[in-house]
Amino acid sequence: MAMLEVERLRKSFGGLTATNDVGFHVDQGEIVSIIGPNGAGKSTVFNLITGVYRPDAGDVRFEGTSIVGKSTNQVVDLGIARTFQNLRLFTNLTVLENVLISQHHRLRSNWLSAVFRTPSYRRQERAMREVATEKLGFFGPRLQSFRLHQPVYVLSYANRRRTEMARAMATGAKLLLLDEPSAGMNPKETSEITQIIRRMRDEGGYTIVVVEHKMNLVGEISDRVIVLDYGQKIAEGAYRDVVNDPKVIEAYLGKKAGDDKREELADG
């Protein structure tokens, strides 16, 4: 059974339909990319899945149960975590604290035992630290040691992206929604992120949905690609097939240019 099923999802803002009857599924252990031109409704799909917006129609099922109408933090409890297109880290807190906060919802002590530091609270706190170190370890030693205690605002842009991914992983989610994980990164860092996303699936056991603009990254990691345009799904399938789909090329490049550019895009 599919892990995440999205069915005929529709959302409009006033007169503008952001997503129109979008439907797809994600299987356990898959990496699925959602691509599309700007304003195609990619981020809206993420917002609809995570409960930031409530869909006008349609259904989202995670492991068989509908999650429509649940609030964002309840969705995280169920096991879906996300990153943001334009970084939303807790800038004045340290890297470690950022990654610890995303585990807070799994804490099983009330605030009084936290105040009095009961043994069970201490144990959980230690476990949380271990998880944090482990997740940050995905990115090599660069986010460990002294950097654990650095506030996020001194980090470089790439390190902030990494911290945000570690933070999403630490929520304990099974499904990660990564919104443009390589935005603002140079080619070197992008290729590194590509590796990391692979390893997140292979070693971490996460199922991953990626919204991306960089075609080479999409091509390298995706098991399946979903193309959105004007809020509608226009193609789905393996990367090779999708980029050669005339509808996709038309969406990206317009009708006329499509024929000339087809080959280029396929190589890109």
């Binding site: 803002f13 006033g14 007169g15 503008l16 952001a18 981020s43 917002n47 930031v52 943001f84 297109q85």
Partner: protein, 402 residues
């Protein structure tokens, strides 16, 4: 994550203000008929008095609310100190018509300070302190003001104009000293600073003006009594019944045409939409904000002067500005903060509810009346509006952003 704004307004929302007002009117009429059938006291004259008071009070709140709404529209600051600016305006008027002429040295000092402010005001339009017109205004201003302050007893109208000017300059200075350095700071810091400014002005008022209630009885024909009968019931009032709404109307019209017609006014509206973009388009946002404070404070000063006239006395400086300020802010929120007509409508709603609530639920043998909850009511209304409909009843489409 950008939330896409709705481009169309649902129909019910366009009629909402109308519905709210109609509903309120229906309630009032029903209660009036009920009271009229119960007691002799509650005749047409009783309610006409409440109506007159409502219009007057609503106009006064409108003058204060415009300052709140303009400042919030442009820098998103709830200017806590605005109520105190209103208080300073009232007391400045008082001191201008009671204890002029001043001794020459005091007059010179005051003239210099006022002229400097005047030059700043003209500079907003001319662009440079070294501009010949600004310098000319400075030179003439010093002489004229010195003579005016040291030789004449000021008539009431001149005191209002002088007070508007002085208070406007105060608004400019508050902006320059306390708010300009915080332009890029978090909004909470700005709010805390405005609270500090408000406390500063309260206590300086206590120190410099007086610490007790002050009678405010200028020599003006506006306060001559005016008596007429309605349906057999006598109504005793005075010409302020006409004067306050008319002055308010004139000032509001002047402000609206300033905002829509002049270059600076258009820049204000542009900055209210998006200050950053406006700045990139060549609008000097600091100048626009200064103008906003100037105009808002001038209106508040006019309101303060007429407030004193209406009630015949000024409360002590530490508390005079607080409640009118809060009520005017509530009015601005009710009308949809950032909107000029909204502020006036909101002020009228507050003025009417305040007077009619106490008139409609008066003290009767079986019921103690709700007068003591009058001030609480303003806060309750403010909280309810903020919780239920923070964009105000006028909403976005009817409102004209400053």
């Amino acid at each position: 994550m950008t939330l896409l704004r709705s481009t169309r307004t649902p129909t019910w929302r366009r009629f909402l203000p109308l519905l709210v007002i109609l509903g309120l009117v229906a309630l009032v009429v029903w209660r009036m008929l009920y009271l009229g059938s119960v007691g002799e006291r509650f005749n047409a004259g009783f309610f006409l008095r409440a109506f007159i008071d409502s219009v007057k009070l609503g106009s006064l709140y409108a003058l204060i609310a415009l300052g709140y709404t303009m400042v919030y529209g442009i820098i998103r600051l709830i200017n806590f100190a605005h109520g105190e600016v209103f208080m300073v305006g009232a007391f400045t008027t008082y001191f201008l018509f009671t204890i002029t002429p001043y001794a020459l040295p005091a007059a010179i000092v005051m003239a210099i300070i006022l002229t400097f402010g005047l030059m700043r005001v003209v500079e907003l339009f001319r662009g440079s302190m070294r501009d010949p017109i600004v310098l000319g205004v400075g030179a003439i201003g010093v002489v004229v003001l010195t003579v005016a302050l040291s030789a004449f007893t000021w008539p009431f109208w001149a005191a209002i104009v002088g007070s508007m000017l002085a208070t406007g300059v105060l608004g400019l200075s508050i902006d320059r000293v306390a708010y300009v350095p915080l332009r890029s700071a978090p909004r909470n810091s700005l709010l805390i600073t405005s609270i500090a400014v408000s406390f500063f002005l309260q206590n300086v008022g206590l120190l410099a003006f007086t610490n007790r209630q002050t009678p405010f009885r200028p020599d003006t024909p506006l306060t001559t009594p005016l008596a007429f009968e309605v349906g057999g019931a006598p109504v005793l009032t005075n010409w302020l019944l006409v004067a306050i709404p008319v002055v308010t109307l004139v000032l509001v019209i002047a402000l609206t045409s300033f905002v829509t017609r002049t270059r600076l006014g258009k820049a204000m509206r542009a900055s209210a939409q998006d200050a950053e973009v406006a700045q990139m388009m060549g609008v000097s946002v600091n100048k626009v904000i200064a103008t906003t404070f100037l105009l808002g404070s001038m209106l508040a000063a006019a309101g303060g002067a007429m407030w004193g006239l209406n009630f015949g006395s000024l409360n002590q400086p530490a508390i005079m500005g607080i409640l009118p300020g809060i009520k005017a802010f509530a009015a601005a929120v009710i009308g949809g903060i950032g909107s000029l007509p909204g502020a006036v409508i909101g002020a009228m709603i507050i003025g009417f509810s305040e007077n009619f609530l106490t008139a409609l639920f008066p003290r009767t043998p079986t019921f103690l009346g709700i007068t003591e909850f009058k001030d609480t009511f303003a806060f309750v209304l403010l909280i309810l509006v903020l919780l239920i409909r923070p964009s105000g009843i006028v909403g976005e489409d009817l409102s004209e952003k400053v």
